[in-house]
């Protein structure tokens, strides 16, 4: 029984609204409008190689890496706690962990603005203690904080789901063979949890490197990231060609990082793209 035609509306839709737009981005990134019409060029990519733009790319990758590392350090123990047998209401704990993630991330970021600003709660508390107010908002640290806050669940959940599936008898076997707690972790638990760690890294790094909202709201526009650069080119400057070229570079960064990650992932259970 063939029901293939049922997917035709979707295929048409996909062609129109996913394939064509991406083709347009590629087209704009490789052309320039001159007096005698369109001309093929690599100038936009060349322009991105200028130090001022490379610095933006470097900063984006740096801040995203920072956030990823902090998420991993904070998140791994949390994933172990959620996956362990220590607590009765584990289902509820996991649910509670997921809830904030579903709150609009603009609002989550905004919430930190109210905490960090000059007259915010943290500074009020400091002055109550008799300490001078700190400049917290509109700093690079605030941007990293915003990323960690927004993306921590993306690190914890994949690690949690891998840890939960680990065969307990392996751990018992290691213990029977005389391994102490740390050795069990180092030799058994951690290596087995690597797929989760890798997909967690991808899932934190990707949104962190492409964000323009967090850097705009918590960085106050002083810390231009690659996302901000793209937004500016399209909505402020109106240079679509250059904006498209940066978008292509960004997609390349994403694709390469997914590619690298899934190459090391033993079970390719995440995305089906590779």
């Amino acid at each position: 029984m063939k029901k293939n035609w049922l997917s035709y509306p979707y295929l048409v839709w996909m062609f129109l609204f996913i394939f064509l737009p991406l083709l347009l981005v590629l087209f704009y990134s490789l052309t320039t409008r001159t007096e005698d019409g369109l001309r093929f060029t690599l100038a936009h990519f060349q322009r991105f190689m200028e130090p001022i733009y490379l610095r933006v790319l470097f900063r984006s990758v740096k801040l995203a890496l920072f956030s990823t590392v902090i998420c991993l350090i904070l998140g791994y123990p949390m994933a172990m706690i959620l996956a362990g047998n220590g607590f009765k209401r584990k289902q509820v704990m996991v649910f509670l962990f997921v809830v904030p993630m579903w709150m609009n991330f603009l609002l989550r970021t905004y919430a930190w603005m109210t905490l960090l600003e000059k007259t915010g709660l943290i500074n009020t508390f400091l002055s109550w203690l008799g300490l001078p107010p700190l400049n917290l908002l509109y700093t690079e640290e605030a941007v990293v904080l915003g990323m960690v806050y927004n993306f921590l669940p993306f690190m914890v959940l994949p690690i949690y789901s891998v840890l939960r599936k680990i065969d307990k008898s392996l751990i018992e076997a290691a213990e029977d063979l005389g391994a102490d707690g740390f050795t069990v972790f180092r030799k058994v638990i951690f290596p087995l949890s690597l797929p989760g760690v890798l997909s967690g890294i991808t899932m934190v790094f990707m949104p962190a490197v492409t964000t323009f909202v967090i850097s705009r709201l918590l960085g106050g526009g002083q810390f231009t990231l690659i996302g901000n650069l793209i937004e500016q080119q399209f909505l402020l400057v109106g240079d679509w060609n250059f904006g498209s070229a940066i978008s292509m570079v960004m997609m390349l960064v994403i694709l390469v990082s997914i590619g690298v990650m899934s190459k090391y992932e033993k079970e390719n259970e995440g995305s089906g793209l590779f």
Binding site: L6, Y10, L22, V25
Partner: protein
């Protein structure tokens, strides 16, 4: 001892996750405009919120877009999932890989590429372009929710219906559709939530005069703090929480860790 350590670590993480939200909620009832001090309970900001015509219009747009886009995406996506399920292996693999593109692609690229398409084709940016964009990023999530249900399906049921004289269409409506319904509903709710939640793609594909709540929040927050946003956040948080509880109660029986992971993956 370790149990105590674990407990306090978990408590700290939950504090980190919930403190900003709770403070937002509490201060939405604060009479003073300043966030530092508590000046008594008030519903003033909620009143102002509901009197703000711009925000009310954005709320209206957000809900209409979410309802329309999730419904249309569910129809197209469910049909697509049935079609994909019946495809040959190679073709199915190609289509599925294409389906993952909007899930994996950064939202900003999806948004601006759609914007380019609309402007390139002289399509007016506004309500319709916003709706088309939302349908586009919703369809893959519907497909990913429905496909697992189709895989679980017992083929014999459909054939039995045919043997008993049902037409293929009747068999689909009376046998297949009820069986995959849980997946369809989950997809619908997921699409609805994602549509309400989206900012980046909406930001690029909307035109003047049409904004969603997220866009309003962004433009307000860029100018600094505004207690009306606190009130708005509280209402949105409660709404999303309710939706989540419903979805969770629906799916708690089935194993759909895969789905959840993909849903998470695509949120940004």
């Amino acid at each position: 001892m370790t149990r105590f350590l674990k407990k306090s670590y978990a408590a700290l993480i939950y504090l980190f996750l919930y403190a900003p939200i709770l403070i937002l909620l509490v201060f939405s009832f604060n009479a003073s405009k300043s966030r530092g001090v508590w000046a008594g309970f008030t519903l003033k900001w909620y009143r102002e919120l509901f009197q703000d015509r711009q925000i009310m219009k954005a709320l209206y747009h957000t809900i209409i877009i979410a309802v329309l886009s999730s419904t249309i995406a569910t129809v197209i996506g469910t049909a697509a999932a049935i079609g994909i399920h019946n495809m040959k292996k190679l073709k199915r693999k190609i289509v599925m890989n294409l389906t993952y593109i909007p899930v994996v692609n950064p939202d900003i690229v999806t948004g601006l590429s759609l914007m380019l398409l609309f402007i390139f084709t002289n399509f007016r940016l506004g309500f319709v372009s916003l709706l088309l964009a939302h349908i586009t990023f919703n369809i893959p999530y519907v497909i990913l929710s429905v496909l697992p249900k189709l895989k679980q399906l017992d083929k014999n049921l459909y054939e039995a219906a045919l043997d008993l004289g049902a037409s293929p269409f009747y068999a689909y409506r009376k046998v297949i559709l009820p069986e995959i319904m849980p997946g369809v509903i989950t997809g619908l709710l997921l699409a609805f939530t994602l549509s309400i939640d989206d900012f980046v793609i909406s930001f690029f594909t909307t035109g003047s005069g049409v904004s969603t709540l997220s866009i309003i929040v962004y433009s307000m927050a860029r100018r600094g703090i505004n207690p009306k946003i606190n009130a708005l956040s509280t209402l949105l948080f409660v709404t999303v929480l309710l939706l989540l509880v419903i979805v969770n109660l629906r799916t708690s029986g089935t194993t759909n860790g895969q789905n959840k992971k993909q849903a998470i993956n695509g949120k940004y």
